[in-house]
């Protein structure tokens, strides 16, 4: 007689935001299967938006009731703690905003499988009458669900599942751009192949660490680390492989090569979603793995992350200078920002209070960077040539004269990326640099002095980065417009709302950062569940 298997306890209330998003995604699939074509979009849009808003409301309810759990949920598989809830809230708002962009019009191809330029494609276009692929909506919901689960996963297997749930829909979505099909398909293919590789690395690393610790649960690994065992090589290999998988997702050097190609080829609203949501989720996961799982190994991984962070900042900002395509430039800028975030990840030496300071800094940075990024990509969707978006930078010349409001807003976003005071970006950068120097001054840190060095590298990278942001401003405002310049699409209500929200956050936080800092502070105070 087998012993009875206990039913697992699931904290439905705590996990409700996740369940709502995944539930809506599954309903979306059913809609796609059973609803008539002409109805689909009008069902999908409210369903997607409502589920995201509902999930956000559920997050708010948990926060406002002050019942942030202190123990992991779902039998130790998911940790819904302060940082998780903060990241969830930010991802949900940003993906809501991105869905407004996705919903805009004509970004997506009618039939992804058709050969570009073939009769099949024309036929599909004709049949589709402009409504595009409606399966975009459930795919986005699955990706968002994955993004929510990824930073909250409390064991490595759950994290792997989340990684795949997040990534697979994104691979598909990247290939759906309506214009410049080949570029889009190339992006999709590259992202898929490289992403699959990195997932394999992650999984292999998980296996190695399981071999060392005998568990995949993050706190379990940490305990095994402090206990020690004779299997250090396994641990080292596992930690390295795990690191490759995670750093790939945030696009840290030397695993950054996919970012420019994918950001350029993907439909811009999807790029916005990846540049904000995926980055936030991945940084959250990096934090959780390194702080919770490998917290006792910090003498080993901090020097490695030091090098990666420095390299990422330098590679991102230097290579961005040579870019001539606006989306590629923003991709390199995103790489540089991933480097700045890693500076914050480094800043973990010292007391729990000190850790809360750097965690707060990173959470704040993620939130404000996400909004600025989405706003910037939303503006990119509006500047169009007959063949699609006007990607080449030379096409942006003189935009300040043709569309002063649009160009002014974009310039403001660029200044925020560059970290000029009185924008949100400045305070984000300040927060991580300050956290890094703070941790560097903690007594007994063997690499404390190196933290100041990393901050100096960061500062120099910021100065270099400022150059290419400013170059775009020069083009827009100080150059004469080309005679056959790009058309400025009349923005839909959704796009206007996206840009307005992003601008509001960038300006508002720039003038009064305490608004978001306070929330980040509350979220970070409890640290991750260990």
């Amino acid at each position: 007689m087998n012993p009875a298997i206990d039913a697992p306890t699931i904290e439905y209330g705590t996990l409700a935001p996740l369940l709502v998003v995944f539930g809506a995604a599954i309903i979306g699939v059913l809609v796609e299967a059973f609803a008539p074509r002409y109805l689909r979009k009008s069902v999908h849009v409210p369903l997607t938006l409502l589920s995201l808003a509902g999930a956000f409301a559920l997050v708010l309810v948990q926060v406002l009731r002050g019942q942030v759990p202190t123990a992991p949920s779902a039998m130790g598989a998911v940790a819904v703690d302060g940082p998780s809830l903060f990241i969830w809230g930010v991802i949900l708002v940003l993906s809501f905003v991105c869905v407004l962009l996705i919903n805009d019009e004509g970004h997506f191809v009618a039939s992804a499988a058709a050969v570009p330029g073939s009769a099949d494609e024309e036929e599909a276009e004709a049949a589709d009458s402009g409504s595009g692929h409606t399966e975009v909506y459930p795919l986005v919901l699955f990706a968002v669900g994955g993004m929510l689960l990824f930073p909250a996963a409390h064991d490595l297997l759950m994290m792997f599942v989340a990684l795949e749930v997040m990534s697979l829909p994104l691979y598909l979505l990247c290939g759906l751009a309506r214009r410049r099909r080949l570029l889009s398909q190339e992006a999709s293919m590259k992202y898929f192949l490289l992403g699959a590789f990195s997932s394999a690395f992650f999984l292999y690393g998980t296996a190695m660490i399981y071999g060392y610790a005998g568990t995949v649960s993050l706190p379990g690994i940490n305990q095994a680390l402090s206990a020690g065992s004779g299997l250090e090589p396994l641990l080292m290999i596992g930690f390295a492989l795990l690191g490759v998988g995670l750093l790939f997702k945030i696009g840290a050097a030397p695993f950054q090569a996919w970012k420019p190609d994918v950001y350029q080829g993907a439909p811009t609203p999807i790029t916005a979603l990846m540049a904000s949501g995926t980055l936030i989720a991945a940084v959250g996961a990096v934090l959780r793995v390194f702080w919770v799982g490998l917290g006792n190994l910090d003498w080993n991984w901090r020097p490695v992350i030091w090098v990666v962070a420095a390299l990422t900042m330098i590679v991102g900002s230097v290579l961005a200078i040579t870019q001539t395509e606006i989306k590629r430039m923003l991709a390199y800028s995103s790489i540089a920002h991933a480097g700045f975030l890693l500076v914050g990840v480094m800043a973990t030496f010292g007391t729990a209070q000190q850790n809360a300071v750097s965690l707060k800094a990173i959470l704040f940075y993620l939130a404000v960077y996400g909004f600025t990024t989405v706003g910037a990509f939303a503006i990119v969707t509006l500047v169009r040539d007959p063949g699609g978006e006007a990607g080449h930078l030379s096409r942006w010349a003189g935009l300040g004269k043709r569309a002063p409001l649009l160009a002014g807003t974009f310039a403001f976003f660029l200044l925020a990326f560059a970290g000029i005071p009185l924008t949100s970006g400045f305070f984000g950068k300040y927060a991580v640099f300050a956290a890094a120097l703070d941790s560097g001054t903690q007594a007994g840190d063997p690499i404390g002095g190196w933290m100041a060095g990393l901050v100096v590298v960061g500062v120099i990278a910021s100065a270099v980065a400022a150059f290419f942001y400013v170059r775009v401003i020069v083009l827009m405002f100080f150059s004469e417009p080309a005679a056959d310049g790009p058309a400025i699409a009349v923005p839909s209500m959704g796009t206007v709302a996206v840009i307005a929200v992003s601008l509001l956050v960038t300006v508002g936080v720039g003038l009064y950062p305490e608004s978001v800092l306070g929330i980040a502070n509350d979220a970070a105070r409890s640290l991750f569940i260990r």
């Binding site: 002063p404 200044l415 300040y430 120097l437 901050v455 100096v456 100065a463 150059f467 400013v470 100080f478």
Partner: protein, 519 residues
Amino acid sequence: MSPWLPILMAVPVVGAIVVALLPKGSDKLAKQVTLLVSLAVLVLTGVMAAGFDPKGDRFQFTAAYDWIPSFGVKFGVGVDGVALVLIALSAVLVPIVVLASWHDADGVRTADGTLITPKRSVKTYFSLLLVLETMMIGVFAATDIFLFYVFFEAMLIPMYFMIGSYGGAQRSYAAVKFLLYSLFGGLLMLVAVIGLYFVAGKSTFMFPQLVGAIQDPTTQKWLFGGFFIAFAIKAPLWPVHTWLPDAAAQAPAGAAVLLVGVLDKVGTFGMLRFCLELFPDAAKAFTMPIVVLAVISIIYGAIVAIGQTDMKRLIAYTSISHFGFIVLGVFAMSSTASSGAALYMVNHGFATGALFLAAGFLIARRGSPFIGDYGGVQSVAPVLAGFFLVAGLAGLSLPGLSSFVSEFMVMIGTYQSEAHGSGALTAAAVISALAVILAAVYILWMVQRTINGPTAEPVKAFKDLNAREIWVLAPLVALIIGFGFFPKPLLDVINPSVHQTLTNVKVPVSTIAEKGTGQ
């Protein structure tokens, strides 16, 4: 808690928003509103300054509000004597610049009708100007070092757009160079600011609490370096000066006045207040290298100025020479020299402002900044020529004009300084005195080639100054002559705060600064 400074900072920015929101086609109204707002700021500054008690507390009109408690940042403002006179300088210059720039964005035509700059957005120009005024007041008023940094960096942006959108042919190159140089220096300072916060461990950025907080000499040196490089780029000091001639030559004349007259003063002001008082040991340790750089700037700027063919570049190089004097005075470690340096910051603003504006009026008539394109202006536009001459003479520090007093104080103070043995600084003073001769060469030669001599053909079409242009130059010339004969009101305000600074650096305060006011 005094509301004066926050009000002073709020008025221009509110004005800027109003100007920006005016309906299309109300260019004239935009100019009038800007002028009115800047005059209101001037009046408010005057009333506030009248209430300043030189014998009272060091920082007056203080106010501090919580801004970012998570970072320990306060919106802390307050002025000492030096800050007050620099705020007053800004408040005087802005309305003058508004008047001077009246037609700059309209599309400038030369006397013979050729368009030299196309029509650009008037509202944007004047609202940028007002935003800049808020930031100029804020940067001098900030007693919270973080707030100072925020204004220090943020004020680059309006100036960047003023140069880049409204400047001459090379404007975008000049604007980018200006921005990147300043930004780079600023970022180094940011690291030092953060470092100061953590090393001091006082959980505040308020300047009065941080004075004397850093004791370790090595730490002092590193942090001093971060601040000093930023200020040296801003001031600018040789060898990081190369952005200034480009920026000043390409900027519209009004913006160039604010750039050289006020923005660059933030550098020397920062050296005097932050580098000396926060890191006294480091400041003393680095005195000699900095004095050497200052002397090089003085001589180098003067010599290169002689060789310039472009009037605005020439004036920019003279400013590099003058900034060398100011830096020399700040680091001479004697109260006469330091008071002289602080006074020089104000006087240089008036003198160089007048020179830039007079040159700007010449350029607007001829459409060329090159000295060789002029000649004999005196015979067709005597009033313009006269103002140009007086402004030029102020630039070469003629006795009786305001810059003489300050230059003399810097040199005599440096000469007498006991720091580093009496010899080293005496030598510096002697070498820098050569610049007085060089100044005569660069100014008088320029004056000779432009306003004297046979009248060049295109110059014959010149009209003399109109009423607006006289209103621009007359107040400046009046101030130059007034403070040349009677600098006491300025010195009375400046001296106590300079003495306070030097006391914090532990330099004995006993010199002719008090006696010297009788000039």
